[in-house]
Amino acid sequence: MSAVLRTEGIEVRYGETSVLRDVTVEVERGEAVSVIGPNGAGKTTLLKTIAGVLRPRHGRVVYDGVRLDGRPAHRVVRLGIAYVPAEKELFPQMTVLENLQLGAYVNPTATDEHLAFVFGLFPRLRERTGQLAGTMSGGEQQMLAIGRAMMAGPKVLMLDEPSTGLAPKLVAEMYEQLSRLKAAGLTILLAEQQVPLALALTDRTYVLENGAIRLAGPSRDLLGDPEIKRAYLGLA
């Protein structure tokens, strides 16, 4: 069991309805893992549960030997797991710089160092430090969201459908930065609608459908799987 991040048979409910049933997902240190599946499959729920935004009814979430489930989100960040939600959840009336500074809240002394790193990743942010986050375009906001998450100096980065609403060029740019981060040793867990990109970046993939894991395996193999091809890649 060398997986650093693991959910063990978790069940998550919204009210009385089970949205995730007996889901076990593992991510090893330095791995990039993607979770794909149709809308409503539970991908966001899975990420939110790991991040501490939601609590599982049954099962455990373990990171580096420490139990995560039941901890509030602000504690999970401190343990080294950063989450970039689909809605980005930026601070609209604060500047790019302030958003980034707050990202480093768990470790304020490292702010300058991490700021340099993030600007290196996304130079466009450096040009817009004084701009209010709410006035930025979708692509810029996505970069800011990822940048803010990285300001916490995390060991694990979770992203929920980061390509949504972005122009293809920006998406390519973003994925290039993600692979740079992966090369630098960051562990990545990614939920994506744009399956080819996810499969290209990651080592392993889980297919989530209707709240349960339907398929799991190396991303390369799934690329060749006929069912996946038909369902997610639009190929006959």
Binding site: A73, H74, A152
Partner: protein, 285 residues
């Protein structure tokens, strides 16, 4: 004309000081504190008692303000728990009724312990000459207190990381939590801050004129309307609204007498709220 303007500004600053505590709490979690005025009285009463007990005036003021803050802390950890557990409309209603009950608790106790007492904290120098106009040193004192409080508050919110964390929770609580900010603890901090500001307003009122234990309700309502007129989430707005309403009140008092002026003030505020519910300045800066 000018003395009235000065008087208006001085009164206005006090109104702003009274109201800013409400702006803080409401912006942070949708709890409207109907006991705010009572917290101001608590601060003033504590200070007066300490001075009466022989404590140095400045120390007494500081302790009175801290005492109000401590009281707010206790309230946050006990009374407001059910409100924080709820969401949206339910939280608003709970907050309103719980703090309403609290205001009665405080009022009832204070009026029982100190019936019909008017507390005045006297300053040694009655009045000073300021550019040709005689101004009461108490007016200068309370204005300085209010201005200083606002500067410190704004500085805290704009410049410090914790202050920015506070603003972030107001703008996006989920986002803040994902940055590692503990919303609950920050909320408590703001409540304590608000309590201290209320206490400060009470002390200032005691310095400026007199403080009666029955003034709680009036203070709360004044604070509420200034906060709302200024835009319930904007501190700059609160400052502007307070000063504006203070000036309106001063001029109205001069021409039509205190009661009518007060009514005009309240009506003006009510109309502003109805015409522009988001207030004069809609967002925090």
């Amino acid at each position: 004309m000018i003395p009235i303007l000065i008087d208006g500004v001085v009164q206005g600053l006090q109104l702003s000081l009274l109201a800013v505590g409400i702006t803080l709490i409401y912006g942070l979690g949708g709890v409207l504190n109907l006991a705010h005025g009572q917290l101001a009285i608590v601060g003033g009463v504590a200070t007066a008692l300490l001075i009466g007990g022989g404590v140095n005036v400045v120390a007494a003021c500081v302790l009175g303000v801290l005492g109000a803050g401590l009281f707010a802390l206790v309230v946050d950890r006990s009374l407001l728990v059910p409100a924080y557990r709820a969401h949206g409309e339910e939280r608003l209603l709970l907050g309103l009724v719980l703090t309403l009950g609290l205001s009665l608790l405080i009022d009832g106790y204070l009026n029982y312990q100190f019936p019909n007492t008017a507390l005045t904290l006297r300053l040694p120098v009655p009045s000073v000459n300021l550019g040709g106009f005689r101004v009461r040193s108490a007016s200068i004192g309370t204005s300085l207190i209010a201005i200083l409080a606002f500067l410190v508050l704004l500085g805290f919110l704009r410049r410090t990381l914790v202050g920015k964390a506070v603003r972030s929770i107001i703008q996006n609580e989920v986002g803040a939590e994902l940055c590692g900010i503990d919303a609950t603890r920050t909320r408590t901090l703001i409540l304590v801050l608000s309590g201290m500001l209320a206490g400060l307003a009470g002390v200032a009122q005691g310095l400026f004129s007199s403080l009666g234990t029955e003034m709680g309700v009036e203070f709360t309502i004044l604070g509420l309307i200034v906060a709302v007129v200024g835009g319930v989430r904007s501190i700059n707005g609160t400052l502007a609204a307070g000063v504006l309403l203070g000036i309106v009140n001063a001029f109205a008092s001069y021409y039509v007498g205190t009661y009518l002026a007060f009514i005009i003030l309240l009506l003006a505020a009510m109309i502003t709220i109805l015409v522009r519910p988001s207030g004069l300045l809609a967002y925090w800066t």
